[in-house]
Subunit: 342 residues, 2 copies
């Protein structure tokens, strides 16, 4: 069993903890959190051991009748792997603690790529993390792009990619973010940072990205045109994507008209928090003109990196190869449930 | 003087009427409207003669103390040119009335291209409307694309265009439209109808368009990549666009961060209704990589076709050439005011 500690129990941390808890070869040592809030109470109710950064944190938790098992330092020492899901930038500040405890660590995409010797997408470059002391799971948008482009590149050869990212303004609970009734170039400079982030896992890809932020909280949506080495049929593209368990073909013809429909569908499947781990590619949008492929896909910003974090743990701490790990993760979580189109 | 009648006094009709009223070579015969609402009252207050479709309409206006000068049929007979700004589809139903009165007519982009022998963008194909009995001003999005691509094609040669249109859900008063907190492929099929509409004014252009609708009402935003015959400098692109009075270079560095800033800026310039007639291209977004140009532009869906309607009237009813007409329209309206970047 790989003993996993979760440092940071917010949007990503709580999801990764739940996902790790389903894996047959992993267990949760505990989770570390700064604030004794409703998320902490839910973690304790669920049975996760709670760790606090220091004595002051311990007192704050105790004041709310939330038992604390020890300090974050203890959690790091007792874990085979730490998943650092602290806010962007805090991970880099934590890095020396992991190094001095000699505990391998998975960082998140909010950190600079320099935080770890490798960046990670399980479908694109699993092996580059094997044997490392740490890795960084790339951001939700980059994960969505890498998962789509890796199989396309293998089967048809990707010459270049042009992607406009229609970005959600914030997560549902981030009430202090915008925009309201506006469309915002974000960033206004082109290409956006997503292009260079994608090259941390797919270094050879010729990619242009542009970002625009809109008043929505549920998912990001990517509008892509991909130039290929070969001229595939539309059916060949559909078959290629359909064979990927972390890519779901969805259809307006089945009532999956928008991001909200995709999230509703995940709730209807009894997924906790309505999480969508898979890229959702609209079947009707797949358009092939010679060597040019266009399509629209949605990416759930809170969830798509969750299976990647699980695989990153295995890449750091187990012998499983990439395909074995992905399959274990998918089977335990229930990734890639059949859609009406399957 | 070209005597102009406006049939349909809603979002577009009222703006075109005001714009025609500023032109030195045009006058408004009157406006025709179906419903005696606040927009009708404002038209009468402004001094426009009101026409009603029939006796029933006349009675409805009279019941609100709004004087009626005659029927729509009379307006058509007394006008040198009619601008049909009725709802999409109604223009086509009206077409026989204009034909039997032998009154030239400008239709809007909501009609099918078959409604008239030509489609129209003043910068792209003015001459194709000259000598015709009617024309169709293409939609707001198509106008925004054609205005941008025509000068680029002349100077650098446009090989192909890939555009994602991030579409506003509705105009500010269209409270019955959505989406709320969602991102919607619209249409879900690729390419969107904008590609074929663009070819009605630029038949040779190789264009891919994808549409996505978002919860915003102020403007559309276009994310473009254009492949050129030549490899221009970024400065050459800026100079090319800067020389177009209906294209405005805007800058996040000047506080023009979003669509809302652009509309606020138009209000601050004392433009009625905060109208933005120009394409707004974000200067910082202009990115050139060899023969590939990427940029972000915003288009005000209620306003950008207004100067085009004025030019279309001249193309149907006067001897002015395209450049003379555009300059008259621009000067009278005040199109292309200097921005802080100019």
């Amino acid at each position: 069993m790989i003993r996993v500690g979760i440092n940071g129990y917010g949007t990503i941390g709580k999801r990764v903890a739940a996902a790790v808890d389903t894996q047959p070869d992993m267990c949760i040592v505990g989770v570390s959190k700064r604030t004794p809030d409703h998320e902490a109470a839910a973690a304790v109710d669920r049975g996760f051991e709670m760790y606090a950064p220091d004595a002051e944190g311990d007192a704050a938790f105790s004041a709310h009748d939330l038992p604390v098992a020890g300090t974050t330092e203890t959690l790091i020492a007792e874990s085979d792997v730490i998943v650092d899901a602290t806010p962007a930038g805090v991970g880099a500040a934590n890095a020396p603690k992991y190094a001095s405890a000699d505990t391998p660590v998975v960082f998140q995409g909010g950190e600079d790529a320099t935080v770890a010797p490798a960046s990670f997408c399980a479908r694109s470059n699993y092996d580059e993390t094997v044997g490392r002391a740490s890795t960084r799971v790339v951001s939700c948008n980059t994960t969505g792009l890498a998962r789509l482009l890796s199989p396309l590149d293998e089967q048809f050869g990707v010459k270049s990619v042009d992607c406009t990212l229609i970005r959600r303004g914030g997560d549902p609970t981030q009430s202090d973010r915008g925009p309201i009734n506006d469309i915002v170039p974000d960033p206004v400079t082109v290409p956006s940072h997503h292009a260079s982030d994608l090259r941390t896992v797919l270094p050879a890809v010729d990619v242009m990205t542009k970002g625009v932020t809109v008043p929505a909280t549920l998912m990001h949506l990517h509008s892509l045109t991909v130039r290929l080495e070969n001229a595939p049929s539309r059916e060949a593209i559909r078959a290629c994507l359909h064979s990927e368990r972390r890519v779901e073909l969805v259809a307006s013809a089945c009532g999956q008209d928008s991001c909200a429909d995709l999230r509703e569908s995940a709730h209807d499947r009894c997924r906790q928090r309505g999480d969508v781990w898979e890229n959702c590619v609209w079947s009707e949008s797949i358009s092939v003109d010679g060597r040019s492929l266009s399509l629209l896909q949605a990416v759930h910003q809170q969830a798509d990196v969750v299976p990647e974090n699980v695989d990153a743990i295995r890449a750091l701490a187990a012998d499983a190869d990439a395909e074995t790990s992905r399959q274990m993760t998918n089977d335990a979580l229930g990734v890639g449930l059949d859609s009406p189109l399957a």
